[in-house]
């Protein structure tokens, strides 16, 4: 196992455990304001300091981790659950009208950056974490559909698929029983990468007010609140930023590490 994979998995695990712990316990209640306690630098009572409402930043980061991970994970889920079957189907019926239709549809979704999808959804339905999930999820669909198709196409030429055909299995059954297991590693790697992009996208969306709404804590929201305070209390802006940076870095390192682990052939080139 590479060093990158270990560091990445470690960072990811830290944030995942912070999010899990926050389900049961956080150091301080973040729903009530404690104005006399505001903008405290990191100290023994508040390890990461307090924000402009006197809320404990560590508790906010823990709750924010929960929001970020939930949004990004569900968005990856949407992308995979819709994208992978589309890609498998396209590859099974390669060259057909439906294949062309699905792939052109993917190109079209690619023309809508996730931010633009979010703007469209928010303009009509209002801002919420659910809409952020949908926006990022829609953006993930073509990513998985294209990758699945590209990875599945060469497999259809292989002998084990031919023998499955000789056994009389249908194209759909071959896709599920023989093609999918062979591309699963690739999906895990891409899932990790999309997960990290999802964390970044969620942070951007909630930063500009199109994502999770108060009182739901989110890292992007924390940064938006901190923006005007950056000169008097830099820690308020630094902490959530580092949280995003470390989480995304961890996931990216993990994605790269997993890719090398699953496919030792490319290890040398990417090292």
């Amino acid at each position: 196992m590479s060093r990158g994979l270990i560091i990445g998995a470690f960072l990811t695990l830290i944030f995942a455990s912070l999010a899990c712990v926050s389900l049961l316990w956080i150091p301080y209640d973040i729903e009530t304001f404690q104005i006399p306690n505001k903008l405290k630098r990191p100290n023994w009572d508040n390890w990461l300091g307090t924000d402009h409402f006197g809320r404990d930043i560590l508790s906010m980061v823990m709750m924010g981790a929960r929001t970020s991970i939930a949004v990004a994970l569900l968005a990856v889920g949407i992308g995979m659950v819709i994208g992978v079957p589309l890609g498998l189907f396209s590859a099974a019926r390669r060259g057909s009208f439906l294949d062309e239709f699905i792939m052109r549809g993917n190109d079209l979704i690619f023309a809508f950056p996730s931010l633009v999808i979010a703007i469209l959804i928010t303009a009509v339905f209002g801002a919420s974490a659910v809409n952020a999930i949908v926006a990022i999820g829609i953006f993930n669909i073509p990513v998985f559909a294209r990758l699945t198709r590209a990875a599945a196409l060469p497999l259809w030429e292989r002998d084990f698929v031919l023998s499955a055909r000789v056994c009389g299995k249908s194209e759909m059954r071959i896709s599920v029983e023989h093609i999918f297991p062979n591309i699963m590693n690739l999906m895990i790697v891409q899932g990790t990468i999309q997960f990290s992009l999802g964390i970044l996208a969620e942070a951007s969306l909630s930063y500009i007010g199109l994502g999770a709404q108060p009182p739901t804590a989110s890292w992007g929201r924390m940064l938006a609140d901190a923006q005007t305070l950056v000169s008097i209390a830099p820690h308020v802006a630094l902490v959530p930023g580092f949280a995003i940076l470390l989480m995304v870095l961890g996931l990216n390192l993990m994605g790269d590490g997993l890719r090398d682990l699953f496919d030792p052939r490319i290890k040398k080139d990417r090292a």
């Binding site: 079209l108 633009v116 703007i119 080139d269």
Partner: protein, 314 residues
């Protein structure tokens, strides 16, 4: 080449039509009655009626769609309900902030990424390679709006080299450019990191090709072979990414404009969302998507000019 161009052009037109249908349905069909959506539940009947006729809501959907598309083709994007001015004018004012910002960021990103990627590839495994690759890992992971805030803290608040936000206009181009510098850097950084990684891996692919070995065998030094043969060929995939990045920079600018209080398309669209001015949202989103589709088309065509193998395949 002609067949390829025609095929791409057809798919370009279909994409534009479908994209416009999607945007039209989301904005004008899903809310039910867009006029009462825009004005809220306390709207007066006569205001509602005025907006309904302004938006042409008494007409059938298909007619409204065609009116909208034909209007846009003639440069008429409708009138903003909150600003009471043509959307075209609003966009025309603000595009002079958003477009230069995106182009500035694209130039910066290329200027950073090319040398970094080439250096990393030519010193593969060495100290500079490891340092550059480590830096790109960070660059990809940093949220650009956070990076922007830190740059404001350092360069605007502490060192006072730049202003923390705002845009003085283009009457003094130097000042205009200066106020776009921090936003452009924050926008460019993550893209530069991605581009440098692609430049490096594409160059490494090229360096292991036979034609490089031939060039070396003919007596070219490593450096000569790299610059004369490898870099040129490695640029092909890089062009595609640069094209894709332009759309990201234009859309990403929407967020960066918020941080630096720049009066660009991003500000326009957020003000429109909070004022529920759907007419503005619809047109600006269409404009953004239109740009993305056109840029992708241009990239495909450039790609085919540079790489003749692609033309034959399709």
């Amino acid at each position: 080449m002609i067949r390829y161009t025609v095929a791409r052009l057809t798919s370009l037109i279909i994409s534009l039509i479908v994209a416009s249908l999607v945007i039209f349905s989301v904005i004008e069909v899903i809310p039910g009655d867009p006029a009462s959506f825009m004005l809220g539940i306390n709207a007066r009947e006569d205001t509602l009626a005025a907006l309904r006729s302004e938006m042409g809501l008494d007409k059938p959907l298909a007619i409204r769609y065609f009116d909208w598309v034909i209007g846009m083709l003639q440069g008429d994007f409708g009138n903003s309900w909150t600003y009471k001015t043509p959307v075209f004018e609003l966009v025309a004012d603000r595009i002079w902030v958003s477009l230069p910002l995106a182009i500035y960021a694209l130039i910066l990103s290329t200027l950073i990424a090319f040398p970094a990627g080439i250096l990393a590839a030519s010193r593969r495994g060495g100290v500079s390679d490891v340092t550059i690759m480590g830096a790109t890992q960070m660059g990809v992971a940093i949220p650009n709006f956070w990076f922007a805030m830190i740059m404001v803290l350092i360069f605007a608040i502490n060192l006072r080299w730049f202003s923390a936000g705002g845009f003085p206009g283009w009457s003094d181009p130097i000042q205009g450019l200066k106020s776009l510098t921090l936003p452009a850097i924050s926008l460019a950084l993550p893209q530069a990191a991605i581009l440098a990684r692609i430049m490096r891996s594409s160059l490494l692919d090229m360096l292991s090709e036979d034609f490089i070995r031939t060039a070396r065998a003919k007596g070219l030094s490593r450096r000569q072979a790299l610059w004369r043969h490898a870099v040129r060929n490695a640029l092909i995939p890089v062009i595609t990414i640069i094209g894709l990045q332009f759309s990201f920079l234009l859309a990403g600018g929407i967020i960066i404009e918020q941080i630096f209080f720049l009066p660009g398309l991003g500000r326009l669209i957020f003000q429109a969302i909070s004022a529920r001015d759907l007419i503005v949202v619809e047109s600006v989103v269409m404009l953004l998507v239109f740009t993305v589709i056109i840029v992708n088309f241009a990239v495909d065509i450039t790609y085919a000019i540079v790489d003749p193998r692609l033309r034959r395949k399709s």
